[in-house]
């Protein structure tokens, strides 16, 4: 049997399949179907220092092979997360990743300090959420903004730090380099692509927020391209995501340069999809005589 374990920023994952932030709650919602321990890790719902109500509904619209969402970071706050969810997560899950968002630098720092003193295994910095008018995209779309928030959080925590990049930029590699230079241990990408749908009868956008983030199979080729570009630009490990729904997608993402993958939207239709990806990857490796995932990372043979 192939060895599926991977190591990212010194953290050992039993397999490279992680539930994506915002699509898997805080790990509590699918335990009716299978134990959390089957996944390599879980990236928890994006959290802020204070609880957030989120955007006015509707917050979701279906699109060809994807969805738009405008949740607006509804969450119970970092303290609530640490108190209510983290103990169970640590007991039942493997790698626990806290996804952190903020509107101003002090929010990020304060949240990182709380998490630094907690049992989370890693922090994933969300500098890319397109939903929150005050924060999110403004940090992640310039290399200066991305560097500033990475720098501040790096100083606030010794936990392994993943910076999650937004695809809504002209050149993602310059953002990747900027956060690497500020001490990010890993980058994850892609977050959602900004989109819009309109009801032609009411002439109203379907999302009350007017615009929202696109995810699901529709974004997969964009994600693969960006992971490949970043793989060539930085030396830190990459966690690839965006539209993965089958094990073949996961292999493709790993070949493009991802050391691990996250799965989000696909879980809504098939809650078992992460497990199918793990099994399919394992069989693919056995069939091709690959002993370790690392033998595949970035092994695309470009023309």
């Amino acid at each position: 049997m192939a060895d599926l374990s991977v190591r990212i920023a010194g953290v050992e994952f039993p397999n490279p399949v992680i539930a994506a932030s915002g699509t898997y709650g805080n790990g509590e919602c699918y335990t009716e179907l299978y134990p959390l321990s089957r996944l390599g890790g879980v990236s928890c719902k994006g959290m802020t220092i204070e609880p957030k109500m989120g955007n006015v509904p509707p917050r979701i619209a279906e699109t060809p092979s994807g969805i738009l969402n405008s949740v607006g970071l509804q969450n119970i706050g970092v303290h609530g997360f640490v108190e209510y969810y983290l103990p169970t997560l640590k007991e039942e899950g493997n790698v626990i990743i806290a996804n952190v968002a903020g509107a101003v630098l002090d929010d990020y720092i304060a949240a990182a300090e709380v998490l630094d003193a907690s049992d989370v295994d890693m922090i994933e910095l969300n500098i890319s959420c397109p939903n929150v008018k005050a924060g999110g995209a403004t940090w992640g779309v310039t290399k200066e903004g991305a560097a500033a928030v990475t720098h501040a959080v790096r100083k606030a925590t010794k936990k392994p730090l993943i910076v999650k990049l937004t695809p809504n930029v002209t050149d993602i590699t310059e953002i990747a380099r900027a956060v690497e230079a500020e001490g990010a241990d890993s980058i994850s990408l892609i977050n959602t692509l900004l989109g819009m749908r309109i009801d032609i009868n009411s002439r109203r956008p379907i999302l009350h927020n007017n615009v929202g983030g696109l995810s699901g199979p529709a974004v997969f080729p964009v994600a693969v391209r960006m992971v490949w570009q970043c793989y060539k630009a930085v030396h830190i490990p990459i966690i690839g995501m965006g539209g993965i729904s089958t094990w073949e997608d996961a292999v493709e993402m790993i070949l493009a340069g991802a050391s691990a993958v996250q799965i989000g939207t696909a879980i809504f239709k098939d809650p078992y999809s992460p497990l199918k990806v793990i099994d399919g990857l394992s069989e693919y490796m056995d069939k091709n005589g690959i002993r370790s995932v690392s033998e595949l990372v970035g092994q695309v043979k470009p023309w």
Binding site: G22, T23, Y24, G25, E28, C29, Y30, E32, L33, K45, M53, G54, V56, P57, P58, R59, I60, A61, E62, T63, S65, G66, I67, N69, V71, Q74, G216, P217, T265, I267, F268, K269, D270, P271, Y272
Partner: protein
């Protein structure tokens, strides 16, 4: 509360009205776990999201669940193509069902495609149940015979008066409530109807439970897209229709968000 996710065989398909179908599905575990008022998230081939559909009937002995739905768009049209013997990909039962008092007189109010989730209450309460069912016109009327077969006092209303009482469900509801015998009201239907029902119940001081709709992602509480504004202890916050609902106590619900 446990739920399941699997493909289950359709044992019966019926057409109830134009573009309104009844599917009975053999799914013993899910049927055993299900409560009146819960829903299932049903996959449509070729679509990224499942479609939430209420449970219309539960038969624990036969191990079946029944769903009644109207074709509203491409996803429900795809689901409607399935035939007896085919499978339906179901995630469920999901959410919180109705809390039905025993041995008390109750009223259920259903509007249009909000009628199916009410049938389970009628099945449980029989003659103690008054069912007020509203439809646009005669060709949209569904399930009224089944409410009657449960011995429920069944009042059909149509907006155009083509069958039953002409007008909205609120007219017979006000009359029934005025008798002062009703201990609880249950409602599902368009938002305007639900608001009017809640108002009447407040006036008559009768507790009311409503089943709400919202666009959903996961259906199991994980993605917080299905929010509805609620209030508890004077504080407003967003609840998840899929997990905290779809059934809410009327006094918790705020519609302006």
């Amino acid at each position: 509360m446990s739920y399941y996710c699997d493909k289950y065989v359709i044992t019966e398909k019926k057409t109830l009205a134009k573009e309104i179908y009844s599917f009975t599905v053999s799914c013993p575990e899910a049927a055993h776990a299900a409560h009146v008022g819960q829903f299932a998230n049903i996959a449509a081939d070729g679509f990224t999201l499942r479609r939430p559909i209420s449970i219309c009937g539960i038969d624990r002995e036969k191990g079946t669940l029944r769903f009644v739905f109207e074709v509203r768009g491409k996803g429900t049209a795809e689901i409607a193509r399935a035939n007896e013997g085919d499978t339906l990909d179901i995630l469920g039962p999901l959410g919180n069902g109705f809390r039905i008092p025993e041995g008390k007189k109750i009223i259920v109010v259903g509007g249009g495609i909000g009628v199916p989730p009410m049938l389970g209450i009628s099945a449980k309460t029989g003659a103690l149940c008054t069912a007020i069912l509203g439809f646009r016109s005669y060709d949209k009327v569904i399930l009224d015979d089944e409410f009657r077969a449960n011995d429920s006092n069944t009042i059909v209303c149509t907006e155009d008066g083509s069958v039953g009482v002409k007008g909205f469900v609120t007219v017979p509801l006000a009359e029934e409530l005025a008798k002062g015998e009703t201990e609880a009201v249950f409602a599902c239907g368009p938002e305007a109807m639900i608001k009017a029902v809640i108002k009447l119940c407040e006036e008559h001081n009768v507790p009311c439970q409503v089943s709400l709709e919202q666009r959903m992602g996961c259906g199991v509480g994980a993605c917080v897209v299905c929010s509805c504004l609620t209030v508890r202890n004077g504080k407003e916050y967003y609840s998840r229709v899929c997990k905290d609902g779809p059934v809410f106590n009327a006094e918790e619900v705020r519609f302006n968000g």
